[in-house]
């Protein structure tokens, strides 16, 4: 499977970064003393690549490790030599020494190196290109972890360094936890050895969860939507809690260019970026063709990929090379414009820079915050607009709203909603409150908008709840009118009997049967079912009002949000905090709306060329 793959890149990164490197040691120590030199050789220009699907577009554009004639890069008058860059520390050394002007990594890996490269004005980093988002990294947990809130006090295993550090950082932010709230076990390798997260998770039952790549995830629990049965090496009860399949704006793969080189060769750098984006457009189309009717050109790309990475890394074309590409999502030209230019993009350059530098300084990779520069490319120029074809891609609705709603309702009815919940939090109301102003709920709305952006392929169920007091009251009154329930005692000390027997715990089954059988129905002025139904409708209306108010909030703030990602549902009185409130304060705790970040099946999402 694609599995062996992604790992190799990260594996190599990790091998070179000693286990204690990430999280314990400054990045500069790993790089050692290097002298900053200018970039002198530009033909061929060395360009690092790593083991990742996004790099397949680079291969496609170049036609091989050296630029071949009649390729995209050749057409862009570039002469490049692609060189392996899975050893990230060595990449940084080469970059500092002027062997190449480029760095290739995930945004947060670049963040780890930010202090080193930012210490000299010549080597400060300009992020010139976002290639992809990851969709193939997962947090698999045991069944005792229900939502990310349960990670408090949990023990997680992940590989030192690499993208999962940033992924965990994102997950902790979702749950409003920090690194001190859990204990981390650092594994040396990403996969395939005794000291990798999947193996440690299998061997040590006290470990609550592990960060793994797709093949290991399938090995542990059977698939994205599955629960491990314990058979065939799976871990019983284990399942995916969070995946970059949903947490789709967590791992951004990028190219960075030295500031001095960029300033002197802006045209060349622009042609490289435009060429890459052109290749991404074509690769996306070829992949679609391949999946529907087959494509010789795509097979050639898979072969080229295998040739470059070697058969050890890519044993098969259909599984491994194709799987490598399937584990990432291209962002294309529209994604780059959105990433670098859209100031309101909560997952754009500024936000990523902040989180990358926060992580680098808080985890000890850097002492000083050294910023990066955004690409600053003229995206409206003919270098892009006259050259690329998919520049006017409208951001489509990500989900089929109807299908999402159906899935949530079915999960809710089937009692399996919790298994698909990543995180949930609630807001409270006054009785009969029907306006939900941003002034009152701005903080919560902001959190939801941020979650929606970060978890681009998860949905947020806005679930309304109402209070059962009135329904219970009607039930009591109906029962009394029909003579099934009898009341004795005085106010404050009432006692009920059911069919002549005390209504105690022993009588509860009878009570349920009588209700189901209709014994409480047909009383003209007391219809508990109508009140139940009204409470259900009220809860949905309230959820709908909150949803509308949330969307208004985002709009007013100029924040991007996909309305299909947010769905309102009513729970009514089925899930009260307090089953039988004894005063208004308790009743009010039941009147609430809950935001539930949920994993949904791929079937309810709409496919698009680029994710941005």
């Amino acid at each position: 499977m694609n599995g062996t793959i992604r790992l190799v890149g990260i594996c190599l990164v990790s091998m070179l970064l000693s286990p204690q490197a990430f999280g314990e040691e400054p990045f500069g120590k790993l790089v050692g003393n290097v002298q900053v030199q200018p970039v002198t050789t530009t033909s061929p220009l060395l360009v690092p690549y790593i083991t990742w699907g996004g790099d397949m577009a680079t291969f496609y554009a170049n036609g091989g490790l050296s630029t071949q004639s009649e390729t995209i890069f050749h057409g862009q008058k570039l002469n490049l030599k692609l060189v392996p860059g899975d050893d990230f520390v060595q990449q940084v050394r080469n970059y500092m020494q002027g062997k190449t002007p480029f760095l290739r990594g995930t945004f947060r890996m670049i963040g780890m190196a930010s202090e080193v490269i930012g210490s000299d004005p010549r080597t400060k980093g300009v992020v010139i290109l976002q290639m992809t988002w990851s969709a193939g990294d997962h947090l698999v947990v045991r069944d005792r972890i229900k939502t990310v809130s349960d990670l408090k006090g949990a023990k997680l295993v992940l590989q030192t360094g690499g993208p999962h550090v940033g992924m965990l950082d994102d997950i902790l932010k979702t749950a409003q936890l920090n690194w001190d709230d859990l204990s981390v076990i650092w594994a040396k390798d990403l996969t395939g050895s005794d000291d990798c997260p999947a193996e440690l998770f299998k061997k040590r039952p006290e470990i609550d969860g592990c960060f793994v790549i797709t093949p290991d995830m399938i090995g542990l629990c059977g698939g994205l939507q599955n629960v491990g049965t314990g058979a065939e090496g799976t871990v019983k009860g284990s399942r995916v809690l969070v995946s970059t399949a949903e947490l789709s704006r967590s791992i951004a793969d990028v190219y960075v260019c030295r500031k001095d080189f960029y300033d002197q060769n802006k045209d060349l750098v622009t042609r490289f970026v435009a060429g890459y984006l052109k290749a991404a457009e074509e690769v996306v189309d070829l992949k679609k063709q391949y999946e529907s009717k087959g494509s010789t050109k795509y097979m050639e790309l898979l072969q080229l990929t295998q040739q470059i990475y070697g058969k050890d890394v890519i044993p098969t074309l259909e599984e491994d090379a194709h799987g490598l590409l399937a584990d990432c999502t291209f962002v294309g030209y529209p994604g780059n414009v959105a990433f670098f230019e859209d100031k309101n993009n909560l997952n754009g350059f500024e936000a990523f820079q902040k989180s990358a530098l926060d992580l680098a300084t808080s985890r000890g990779y850097a002492k000083v915050r050294q910023g990066l520069f955004p690409s600053g490319m003229a995206y409206e120029s003919s270098a892009f607009l006259g050259y690329l074809t998919k520049t006017q891609v409208e951001k489509r609705e990500r989900f089929r709203a109807e299908a999402v709603l159906q899935e949530i309702e079915e999960l809710s009815a089937g009692g399996t909603l919790d298994e698909k919940t990543i995180y949930a939090f609630t807001i409270q109301f006054e009785p009969n409150q029907d306006t939900f102003s941003a002034v009152q709920y701005g903080t919560e709305y902001q959190r939801v908008v941020e979650m929606a952006g970060k978890y681009g392929n998860a949905v947020i169920a806005v679930r309304g709840h109402s209070d059962p007091t009135k329904t219970l009251l009607e039930l009591v009154k109906a029962g009394m009118e029909k003579g099934i329930l009898k009341r004795s005692g005085s106010p404050g000390n009432y006692i009920y009997s059911l069919d002549g027997k005390a209504l105690d715990l022993a009588a509860i089954d009878t009570l349920a049967e009588l209700i189901q059988g209709g014994a409480f129905d047909g009383v003209p002025d007391h219809n508990p079912r109508e009140i139940y139904q009204a409470a259900l409708n009220l809860s949905r209306e309230r959820a709908e009002a909150v949803r509308a108010s949330l969307l208004d909030y985002a709009k007013a703030k100029g924040l991007r949000i996909d309305s299909t990602q947010i769905q309102a549902v009513g729970v009514g009185i089925r899930e009260p905090f307090i089953a039988k409130p004894s005063n208004m304060q308790e009743a009010q705790q039941n009147m609430r709306v809950e935001f539930r970040l949920m994993r949904v099946t791929a079937e309810v999402t709409q496919q698009s060329d680029f994710d941005f």
């Binding site: 059977g222 399996t416 189901q516 208004m584």
Partner: protein, 300 residues
């Protein structure tokens, strides 16, 4: 038989024009009317020159204006002499022209199979409730002038219909004695005049309201206090589990079971269970036995 005068029809049509168009949302109200078109409906209403059938038609057409927005309506007629499809107006949004035309159509004749038709109407409402994920409101109005021919079915179905959360109202026209439905349904009104019939239908429609409120009184808390917490929980669960399967039938598969099964199916796709086929076991055993036997023979 007096028919509605064209001028009447025109008047009501105009009144209804504003009230139409198509919508179908998950929070819709749903009203199903079971209309008696048995032979006796052709008789005039007491002290009136209008037949019960026409009075019912007139009252319905007029009352429909009073329906709240987002109401789906459906009319099921039994025993009409001139109609083969008893759904004269299938449950759906109000289209005034079609609705009025439909209400005009049935001509009385035949018997009073009330029980069967209450089930048919309720089953449709339950189907609709499933489509609306349980939201909205569900109401069944029976307009009749005679005793049911299938009383046993009435006795069997009506309590179940109500226990499924459908509100059942009945209006009896010129019923000499109290109708069998009177003691069973949520509301029973008898109407002896065209005007009282109109009023009765309007009252029923006025009851349609979607969502409740959260307000409660101290008295309410005091009254429910003596219920054990577990009883409150189970009571709500019991109310929530009425189901949308047809009346008189058992629920087929619970949703939870279905989802679990789907999960298993997905699992089976991803990781086929490699259970050993008994035939292979047999083949292996035979081969082993054969080999051992041969070796033993050769040794000898």
């Amino acid at each position: 038989m007096p028919r509605l005068r064209p001028v009447f029809a025109l008047f009501f049509t105009m009144m209804l024009m504003a009230h139409s168009t198509s919508y179908s949302a998950i929070d819709d109200h749903n009203v199903l009317i079971v209309l008696d078109a048995s032979g006796s409906m052709s008789r005039n209403m007491e002290g009136s020159s209008m037949s019960k059938m026409d009075a019912a038609k007139l009252a319905l057409i007029e009352a429909i204006q009073g329906l709240p927005d987002k109401t789906n309506i459906g009319i099921l007629v039994f025993s009409a002499s001139n109609i083969s499809d008893d759904w004269i107006y299938p449950l759906g949004p109000i289209d005034s022209d079609k609705l009025i035309a439909a209400i005009h159509r049935p001509q009385p004749g035949g018997k009073t199979p009330l029980g069967a038709y209450i089930k048919k109407a309720a089953d449709r409402l339950l189907e609709r409730r499933k489509e609306q994920y349980g939201y909205g409101t569900y109401r069944l109005l029976v307009v009749t002038d005679g005793e049911a021919d299938d009383r046993r079915d009435v006795d069997r179905f009506v309590p179940e219909v109500m226990a499924r959360g459908i509100t059942v109202d009945a209006i009896g026209l010129n019923m000499k004695s109290t109708h069998t439905l009177a003691t069973q349904v949520h509301s029973y009104r008898s109407a002896n005049q065209p005007d009282s019939l109109k009023k009765a239908i309007q009252e029923v429609f006025a009851e349609i309201s979607g969502s409740g409120d959260d307000s409660t009184t101290e008295e309410a808390f005091a009254l429910i206090q003596a219920l054990p917490d577990e009883a409150a929980t189970r009571a709500v669960q019991a109310l929530a589990s009425s189901g949308n399967h047809p009346i008189g039938e058992k629920p087929s598969v619970r949703p939870k079971d279905r989802i679990v099964r789907e999960d298993r199916e997905i699992h089976a796709e991803v990781q086929p269970q490699r259970s050993t086929n008994p035939i292979w076991v047999l083949v292996i055993v035979v081969v082993l036995v054969f080999t051992i036997a041969r070796k033993t023979i050769m040794k000898r």
